[in-house]
């Protein structure tokens, strides 16, 4: 940094032209800053833009070309790789544009300050200011960039696939993909085999989410209240036992249940229900299969809710109940007006997430019966939920484009849950200005 510090000049810069600074920065990042006598900042900007143009221009042009055409020569252009490179280019362009806009705003602001007669601070002070303001971002920055490539890029790739014709007969490297717009979504609700399966799977997914989750919450709540009653002895032992279903890995539990529910050989039919002359087709009838799944999920899910509520119940002030006793409140009234609101206020976001989790609970569906049993006239099983159906479409029949389209629909549903939860949670409220 050889230039003499301009801060020594004690001249009012009334004639400093704001427009000129802005236009200079518009032409090439950093020029406006140079004009503002912010040499260091200007040089950094110039270096960044020059480096960007030299290293990235070819990549970006190639990437954008690939993203738009998805390749032109069969066998030579690999559409999938072009698509990913295209997405990377778009991300890089987004960063570059942001920086470019920032440089223009910065030049304009500094020029305005100069025109108002502010003095240009010394280089040392400039560096110190930048460091002070930027330090937290330097710490967070690398992680955020990783996040863009680890989370955003795959997500964008998946979303892109939903708008292509990527399936078994049209897959790279032998064939090129092409953009088909919303055709896959249209097919989903118009072609008979998709339509029937999609509507059935979607309705069962919703029923499954609501019923299974509500049941596990209700059971957890009921047991938590019961064990929390002061007349119950050995509270700790009982709680330990009730947590057990949560302690055993769900994977193992589900597989064991799957064996127990077997129509002919399973313990439930063979040893228990046969005493009453019953043989229920747990695995071969769609309705009974659904009932079994909901029961298993209730079993797996209630301990978490139970533990959660037990904790919250400890924190309800006792004097409220004493006041209720004085006023002659019944048990039911106490529950309705004191306990329930307290519990819900503290745990609503977590309960909402329970719904979202079950909406995409692939493990239980797949491990219990692989989405079976089969249903006449559709290509999804009787207990398939959206996510297990997507899995089948991807790995059994290579309908990548359809799988991606359905995944987008699932994503929208889950984001609605998540959005609601974040709105409710204080942790995500912005503090200060932004």
């Amino acid at each position: 940094m050889p230039q003499p510090s301009p801060a020594t000049k004690d001249v009012k810069q009334k004639d400093h032209n704001v427009k000129l600074a802005t236009i200079l920065s518009l032409v090439f990042a950093g020029l406006g800053q140079i004009y503002n006598k912010r040499l260091l900042k200007g040089i950094i900007f110039i270096i960044i833009e020059a480096a960007f143009l030299i290293t990235m221009l070819n990549f970006i042009i190639h990437g954008v070309w690939g993203f738009i055409t998805l390749g032109e020569v069969k066998g030579e252009d690999h559409s999938i790789i072009l698509l990913i490179e295209g997405l990377v280019s778009l991300i890089v362009i987004a960063f570059a544009v942001t920086l470019y806009v920032y440089n223009i705003i910065d030049a304009k602001r500094d020029a305005r300050l100069l025109a108002q007669g502010e003095r240009v601070p010394s280089v040392r002070k400039q560096i110190k200011d930048a460091y002070d303001a930027g330090f937290p971002y330097m710490m967070v920055g690398p992680g955020l960039i990783m996040l863009v490539f680890i989370v955003v890029l795959p997500l964008a790739f998946m979303i892109s696939l939903a708008f292509t014709d990527y399936n078994l007969y049209n897959s790279p490297p032998r064939n090129l993909l092409s953009w088909v717009g919303f055709q896959n979504f249209v097919d989903l609700v118009s072609i008979s085999i998709w339509k029937k399966s999609f509507l059935n799977v979607l309705s069962w997914t919703i029923v499954w989410t609501v019923v299974a989750t509500t049941l596990q919450i209700a059971l957890g709540l009921f047991l938590a209240l019961l064990v929390n009653d002061e007349r119950v002895k050995f509270k700790r032992t009982i709680r330990t036992f009730l947590i057990l279903p949560w302690a055993v890995p769900a994977f193992v539990t589900i597989l064991i249940f799957s064996a127990m529910f077997n129509d002919t050989f399973g313990a439930i039919n063979k040893d228990i229900l046969s005493q009453f002359g019953l043989m229920i087709p747990w695995l071969t009838d769609p309705t009974w299969s659904k009932v079994a799944l909901i029961m298993i999920q209730t079993w797996l899910g209630f301990p978490f809710v139970f533990a959660l509520f037990t904790g919250v119940l400890q924190s309800i002030p006792r004097d409220m109940y004493e006041a209720a006793d004085v006023d002659g409140g019944t048990r039911l009234q106490k529950f309705r007006f004191i306990t329930f609101p307290h519990i819900m206020f503290a745990t609503a976001p977590l309960l909402i997430m329970q719904y979202a989790q079950n909406f995409n609970n692939f493990n239980i569906i797949y491990l219990f019966n692989e989405g079976g049993p089969a249903v006449r006239g559709q290509n999804a099983g009787g207990t398939d939920i959206l996510i297990s159906w997507v899995y089948k479409l991807t790995f059994d029949t290579n309908n990548y484009n359809m799988a991606a389209a359905i995944t987008i629909i699932m994503g929208l549903v889950v984001s609605a849950f998540a959005f609601y939860q974040f709105r409710k949670t204080a942790a995500y409220k912005e503090e200060g200005e932004m």
Binding site: A133, L144, I145, L168, I191, N262
Partner: protein
């Protein structure tokens, strides 16, 4: 606002660096694609330049890996080419090749059952190979299984099909005809004991019952399949469906039979005959010892029932840069001597005419039974459309087990298969 923009500035700086790296990678990729510069340029001077190493993907099975290690060590001795082996389960290899191939991390040879062939060809992941004179050593069934669109797509290493295992302490000899089998099922099934068990809810094992009376999956003309001609709802197939249904509705075979249940019952001496492949042999021998017998499938209408035959083969990746040497290696691994080594170590039957008559195989009654059955079976269709058949056909078997009308079920199934083939974009 200012803070926000500062943050972005930090981001762009690092992205520039990252993207520059990825830019370099992509240009490398272009060079190899054009055969332009550096290492890849040398290959244009003479394709048969010896590579230092060849990469192969071996199925994730200890015995198989051991056998292949022994064989490839010999190859390294003879040619000086190192063989780099990766253990990747057969079922995962195709998906992995799809991802690793284009990036240059894929293998030269991979190991797949022939029914994935159409899928590999359609995606452009495999290359046809020229086996030259080596072709003559393989059985006709194996070569026809490996043929697709008129080309041969690999060197057959293993041929497998299913037959009958029986418990000698429960029946004197294996059933010779369908009627005998039915009689065994009728007489021996009672109170938790079963006469005959088979995974008839799985189309792979149920196929002989459809094929016997005249059903078929895809019509075949001059060695190519016509996927529009599906023979699973013709008269023969419906009759076969009725026979399968009988097994279930009469209670001879439980509806939800699966390998665990079947093997458990057979090992406990509670099932007289089971239909499965040689892969079940080690477990059965441990449980039954000398009581274990094996036989080909029974005859129906005077003809042996046709089982599905699978051929597992070494296939050439289309991303391989040493195709000539890779082909040489696959021929070496499947030649007579090494196929025998592989059989002795891994226990899988080699599809070589001379070896199938070799004393080592003929004198082993169990292997001999399956080797014999391979002559009656037919290769699974290798067209990609076959992928759309398994699940609907499997579902049809479930409906049959529940007692639905065979004709209606089979007609509906064929319609679904047709719809799925259409929906899969062919």
């Amino acid at each position: 606002m200012k803070k926000f923009l500062m943050l972005l500035l930090a981001m762009v700086l690092s992205v520039g660096v990252l993207a520059a790296c990825s830019g370099d990678n992509s240009s490398d990729g272009d060079e190899t694609a054009e055969g332009g510069s550096g290492d890849s340029g040398e290959s244009t001077e003479g394709e048969s330049d010896k590579p230092d190493t060849l990469k192969i993907w071996v199925n994730d099975d200890d015995k198989q890996v051991e056998a292949i290690t022994k064989i490839t060590d010999k190859y390294t001795e003879e040619t000086g080419i190192n063989i780099e082996m990766n253990r990747i389960s057969m079922t995962d290899q195709v998906e992995k090749l799809d991802l690793d191939g284009p990036t240059g991390n894929g293998p030269d040879l991979f190991f797949q059952p022939h029914d994935r062939l159409g899928n590999l060809v359609v995606r452009g992941l495999a290359e046809p190979v020229d086996l030259g004179d080596a072709k003559d050593g393989f059985t006709d069934t194996a070569i026809s299984a490996m043929t697709y669109d008129g080309d041969i797509w690999g060197a057959p290493a293993v041929i497998e099909t299913y037959g009958l295992f029986y418990n000698k302490s429960m029946i004197d000899k294996a059933p010779e005809t369908m009627d005998e089998l039915m009689t065994i099922a009728e007489e021996q099934t009672s109170g938790g004991n079963y006469g005959f068990l088979a995974e008839l809810n799985n189309f792979y094992f149920a196929y002989p019952f459809f094929a016997g009376p005249g059903g078929y999956v895809f019509g075949k003309e001059d060695g190519t399949y016509d996927v529009n001609d599906i023979g699973l709802d013709n008269e023969g197939a419906v009759e076969g469906a009725g026979n399968i249904q009988t097994f279930f509705t009469e209670g001879y075979i439980p509806k939800e039979v699966n390998p665990d249940i079947m093997n458990g019952l057979f090992n406990d001496g509670k099932a007289a005959v089971v239909m499965t492949g040689p892969w079940s042999r080690p477990g059965y021998e441990e449980a039954l010892g000398d009581d274990l017998g094996a036989a080909p499938l029974p005859k129906a209408n005077g003809e042996r029932m046709q089982s599905f035959v699978g051929v597992k083969a070494w296939m050439l990746s289309s991303f391989s840069e040493n195709k000539e040497w890779a082909t040489d290696l696959m021929k070496f691994m499947t030649n007579e001597e090494n196929a025998m080594t592989y059989y002795e170590m891994a226990g899988e039957i080699p599809p070589r005419t001379a070896l199938l008559e070799d004393s080592a195989i003929v004198e082993d009654p169990i292997t001999a039974a399956f080797a014999e059955q391979t002559n009656y079976g037919e290769p699974m269709p290798s067209v990609p459309a076959m992928q759309q058949v398994w699940e609907p056909a499997g579902n049809a078997l479930q409906f049959l087990a529940q007692g639905d009308d065979p004709k209606a079920v089979m007609e509906e199934t064929v319609q679904i298969i047709k719809d799925q083939i259409a929906a899969s974009g062919q």
